[in-house]
Symmetry: C2
Subunit: 376 residues, 2 copies
């Protein structure tokens, strides 16, 4: 347990549920990633946690920012980033939002379709564009659909069109799936990217950048490789597929930057059984799927959990949230071992919750307020 | 298409995405339910849509309110309901929230476990309590887990304990599953309830109320039975199982009260394919799972959708939301037929979205604002 967060909880005794996030851990993650991948520029994925405290810290450390909307662009600029350090990484953008980003000075845009490329050409003339390609997502814990990216063959065609539309065909991006624990997952995508670079070069178009995306994991229950291990694996793949003509690279860590910096404190509201002869314990917390733990959807992310009773005998329990919604159950298919001494009113800590919690929180479902957060 | 909503959209041209809800439809639904079930008191399930405009309207019509939290209780009281018209229907309540509700005058509480019963006894002495029993949820479109309710055998024991704890053992509740299209679904639960009434009467405890819960559907794509059909089926079951000693009954419509009153207007942000030889159309809207359409989870609820191109040839498309989250896909397993003439920038109407949309909306995921709503 992070001692800074433990002291904060002990001294301030904030109302539950709340997230407490240690900014020093974020700074440490940034430095570890920068050291592990010295040739890559870091674009923090703002969507993971857009708290101004995090953005200012990262801006001061020299980070760039991957943004999903005009609001996120404005937040990054307000935190001190210059527009050349901002990428508009969403492949699904309204024309008016592209124009606003351009007016704010942003010159780097993602796309994965002809229609999007033409929108960018119309309202962001001369901008650098990179095309996202599809990857398999194998080895990732958070599901990756085919929602983003196009087949490499289409990426070739679209990047070849870009100069004729007045755009700078800048590179290729991909995403290997969130919470990716296989350091080799980048290899196949880099092979595709290198093929696109070669084909475009043959047409006289020199692509410059490979956006390696995110996917860098945070430690939940299973061990994850170190930042250095990712750096070494990716570096080897780059040299293997690009030889001596290494492209400029950028990475977009989100979960890997802030996930392990945060702890949610929650309280046990109720412990019950469904009948006298059914030993299944239901443990109801004051946070659930709609209060910030949306990533427990399909029990995809399994957070580490601790209580003051750790060390006591434990038995599996079904964990559920506080709302009147039967879908608001966190772990049921695979019940979670909880101390048998756990009691109503006890505090429960959910670790590794710095990413994808505060902003997933519902506005006011069942009248419950959005997740409160403290950045220390 | 509702002409009042159509006129509003035509004249006001609000920014998308937005929900427009016709209060006259809500009033009509209230009156239809009241007419179909003249012997039942209506407790509107506030969580379906807690807009003050809806609560005030229903309070004026004489509705009571089923609430999930202290915030919802305060909202109902602020809308003009007296505390005797409010039920604290969440079976998972913090002790402090039970005490606050009691201080506000609320005297009707749900429970489904001994621990909860004891909490109520401690801080809400003399209150009326009803025990929720488990039902199968068969025939419901929105999944119902075992999260709420206990086995009838346990309900017997707990209700028998209540008087000794200083509480008024008031009745039994159940929920047949949301969007329940089988009017017979109430029968089995009423049989269980009648058995509990008889057993408790034999112990000298006269239960008075059966809370029939919600589950009344709104019309999405499939036809749903009328309010009268539900009323007739439930009345027959009541007479069958309770004979001449009919209990007082209450119903808790949420979706059935406001679902069909609302229409979400959204805009097509992008239409694309993933490769030149793949005809699958991806249609990206400016609203998705995190902007209010959470009930498309597992494609559970299939909303009716219309565009200005209705009548043109249509082909199935994958519908997705605007966020940088690969889980933000609405209909993919069963693609949705959309006009081939649909274009970027076109408006799309999603019908039957008056319930469980505004409050499910995320605070600011990807920087997108929560769903805006107009109550007309």
């Amino acid at each position: 347990m992070n001692t800074k967060i433990a002291s904060f909880l002990e001294e301030r005794r904030p109302e539950t549920p709340c997230l407490v996030l240690d900014l020093d851990v974020v700074a440490g993650n940034y430095q570890a990633l920068a050291a592990a991948m010295p040739d890559s520029r870091i674009f923090y994925a703002v969507k993971a946690n857009p708290a101004p405290e995090i953005l200012s810290l990262l801006a001061a450390l020299g980070s760039c920012f991957d943004t999903a909307s005009v609001v996120e662009i404005r937040d990054a600029l307000a935190a001190g980033a210059t527009p050349d350090r901002v990428s508009f990484g969403n492949t699904i953008k309204k024309r008016v939002d592209i124009a606003t980003a351009y007016a704010l000075g942003v010159r780097l845009f993602a796309f994965d379709s002809e229609a999007e490329l033409r929108k960018i050409a119309e309202v962001a003339p001369g901008a650098r564009v990179f095309c996202r390609i599809l990857t398999s997502g194998e080895g990732a814990e958070w599901p990756l659909s085919r929602k983003f990216g196009c087949e490499p063959s289409m990426a070739r065609e679209l990047l070849a069109m870009a100069p004729g539309l007045g755009l700078d065909a800048y590179g290729v991006s991909f995403h290997v799936g969130s919470q990716q624990r296989d350091t080799g997952a980048w290899d196949q995508a880099l092979e595709s990217a290198a093929g696109i670079f070669r084909d475009l070069a043959a047409k006289g178009i020199e692509l410059k950048m490979v956006n390696l995306g995110g996917g860098f994991p945070t430690k939940y229950l299973k061990e994850v490789p170190t930042a250095e291990a990712y750096g070494r694996a990716i570096d080897a793949s780059l040299r293997n597929h690009f030889g001596n003509r290494l492209p400029e690279t950028i990475i977009e860590p989100g979960r890997g930057m802030v996930g392990n910096a945060g702890v949610i404190q929650t309280e046990v509201v109720l412990i019950s059984n469904k009948s006298a002869n059914d030993n299944t314990r239901w443990v109801y917390l004051d946070i659930g799927k709609f209060g910030g733990l949306a990533e427990t959807m399909d029990e995809a992310i399994r957070y580490p959990i601790s209580t003051i009773h750790d060390g006591d005998e434990s038995e599996p329990a079904i964990l559920a949230g506080p709302t009147c919604d039967s879908a608001d159950v966190l772990y049921e298919k695979t019940p979670y071992p909880m101390p048998v001494s756990l009691a109503i009113g006890d505090k429960v800590l959910i670790h590794g919750t710095g990413a994808y919690t505060t902003t997933y929180s519902a506005v006011a479902f069942n009248g419950f307020a959005p997740l409160k957060a403290y950045y220390i």
